[in-house]
Symmetry: none
Subunit: 209 residues, 4 copies
Amino acid sequence: MPRKNPTQARSRARVERILEAAAQVVQEKGYDGATTNAIARRARTSIGSLYQFFPNKAALMHALALRYTDELRGLLGRALVPGVTALPWPQLVERIIDAFAEFHHTRAGFRAVWYGGHVSAELLACAFEAGRDIAASAEPLLVRLAPSLPAKDRALVARVATETVGALLILSVQAESQAHADRVIDEAKKVVVSYLARYAEIPASATKP
Amino acid sequence: MPRKNPTQARSRARVERILEAAAQVVQEKGYDGATTNAIARRARTSIGSLYQFFPNKAALMHALALRYTDELRGLLGRALVPGVTALPWPQLVERIIDAFAEFHHTRAGFRAVWYGGHVSAELLACAFEAGRDIAASAEPLLVRLAPSLPAKDRALVARVATETVGALLILSVQAESQAHADRVIDEAKKVVVSYLARYAEIPASATKP
Amino acid sequence: MPRKNPTQARSRARVERILEAAAQVVQEKGYDGATTNAIARRARTSIGSLYQFFPNKAALMHALALRYTDELRGLLGRALVPGVTALPWPQLVERIIDAFAEFHHTRAGFRAVWYGGHVSAELLACAFEAGRDIAASAEPLLVRLAPSLPAKDRALVARVATETVGALLILSVQAESQAHADRVIDEAKKVVVSYLARYAEIPASATKP
Amino acid sequence: MPRKNPTQARSRARVERILEAAAQVVQEKGYDGATTNAIARRARTSIGSLYQFFPNKAALMHALALRYTDELRGLLGRALVPGVTALPWPQLVERIIDAFAEFHHTRAGFRAVWYGGHVSAELLACAFEAGRDIAASAEPLLVRLAPSLPAKDRALVARVATETVGALLILSVQAESQAHADRVIDEAKKVVVSYLARYAEIPASATKP
DNA sequence: AATGAATGAGAATTCATTCAT
DNA sequence: AATGAATGAATTCTCATTCAT
């Protein structure tokens, strides 16, 4: 019974190192300064190895973006721990916004790549996809909130709410003080809750049965 | 009585042509594909002339970006024609969103430069300032809507509303069909109106005296 | 009886201004930095006018070089004032070297163009010609010194002596102190006098009849 | 027991090829005509490789120049083989001049870079240093020739003699025929020997004990 | 699999020169 | 004659990608 293929493990670690290096280099030098050679050097690998894992620069950048969006994609699911889902819906929404806010404030690399200078066309495409996915993961909440809303509308509402939160979190991150950042997040909560209230078919105080 | 120095006029026209060409090429080929030579060719000028007006590619792109933010800055003021300001506040807000939506949909170059990848740190700073200015131009409306709101809160609310509209207009522009784009804009109106309703001290139906 | 064509006078002044500007710009920016446009700007003329007087950049540089070499060409003749030519030959030689030394130390522009950085191929060709001419102007002295020396040898000896003086004057100009510069000139005199003494057919103390 | 790292050896050879090519191209096309692409082509390398070894054109030219000055620095030492040092001093001096003359006539690239135009200020500083070093390597001969000459004067005399030889060798190289070039070298020997004879404290016929 | 030297297409930019005004 | 905006060929240099070792 052989243990896990050591080569695979090493490969995985190397890919991780390369992505980490890419995030750092993009952050430090900007998108244009982030040459594949510089990234390989930072990752203490050879440029040849980099190309073993990523067919070209675009693929590398795409993977870099996916790494964060994947985390984001799972974020909503992870926020919905049992105790939380039972809360009245406005508080539930606020908890989710808090979870995203924490992500934005914690992941410096994320901000660096997404908002810290050069946002490439590839990254934007990724962001769009990620947005769609995140919105999709928010749809179940909408089902509870507005059961009679047609599926198509539900997707739209989820997307609009998600996108709004995203934009306001960026504004929050750019704030000059922590206090101001917090106030922006408070307003974001108000924006989304007011909006969803339009569609809500259950009272704002109802807890999950 | 000679008319305006023809050379200056020609220069201005040429700069205009170059910026227009740049917008088109960036839109078509992306930032990296937009070579200075291609831009000059599209503008039916020589590459030398391009460099007479813009010291380097970054400066050209910067000018292109500024051109749009400057237009945006004045947009709100221009939307507030007499007939409009007398409308009930929710309709007034909707008119303003329509004005911004038209701008986003009309100015292909705007989208190209701001969302077409490669937004430099310098440009982001510009965008931030522009956001602040646009929000500032929206504050008078808030005074009418919520006279007792403290100035500091007013600035925050204006900024949050502005940023939300901006984000949703981008989403709208990315929509695959015109119909979908319109629905996104409708939702944007709902988001902002619901949010502002929280602060409104006058009825949604009140017209200006 | 009309006075001198004023246009010609103005042209001459303009050419002078351009050459002066060229010398300055070469000195300040180096040969590569000395663009024709920069020279025209410094001369407060248009680039078009510059090309009216000089068919191309090479011609301008050539004229610039000639301006100094022409002065050099006449220098020896001017040094031979009556009182000087009567001196014993070694002192005469020393006087000539002093005259050249003064020229080198006085004409900062000359040093700038010739030794201050970028010496172009054209300038070198000029220098070679000038060297030949200056050597030629020194030949009459050799006739007095060594009447029986064949003309061909005389040309060679004159050239060798001239070139040697030139090289040592450059060394002198590069000296870190005035005192050191003077000592180099003293040695230059010794070098040339010792050399010419080989060919001298008249005593070192003989004055001209 | 592996032999020298082949990569290093190949690199060294390539650098050598590039420098050789640069010397040739500069000689043929002049400094301005010597494009980096032309040099790479001549060296049968890619332009990319050229830039791997030299950060820019100036650096390449600088390296080319240094290569020759370094060779020159060692030249005098190498000329003083046992049989030569025992010669009477005037013959010894002549042998040294012959060695330098051979260098000048052999190394076409040397002439190209140093006298082919575009000698940068940086390069001039190099040349000055090299001159000092070469003069220093000649001082031991002066000690034998004029033991009582103070050290400071010795340095000056060595420098003056060295510089004179250098200037006359350039003149020699520019000569239109080999015969003429040889005659210039003969005169150079006379110039230096006559000059040094002024300081000589030992007979011109004395051989080294 | 890993390495990194080598490649070369292609980009930005300059500047001598022209020519319509 | 004078002007200087316009031209575009030519140059330097970068960097994604390949491939022999």
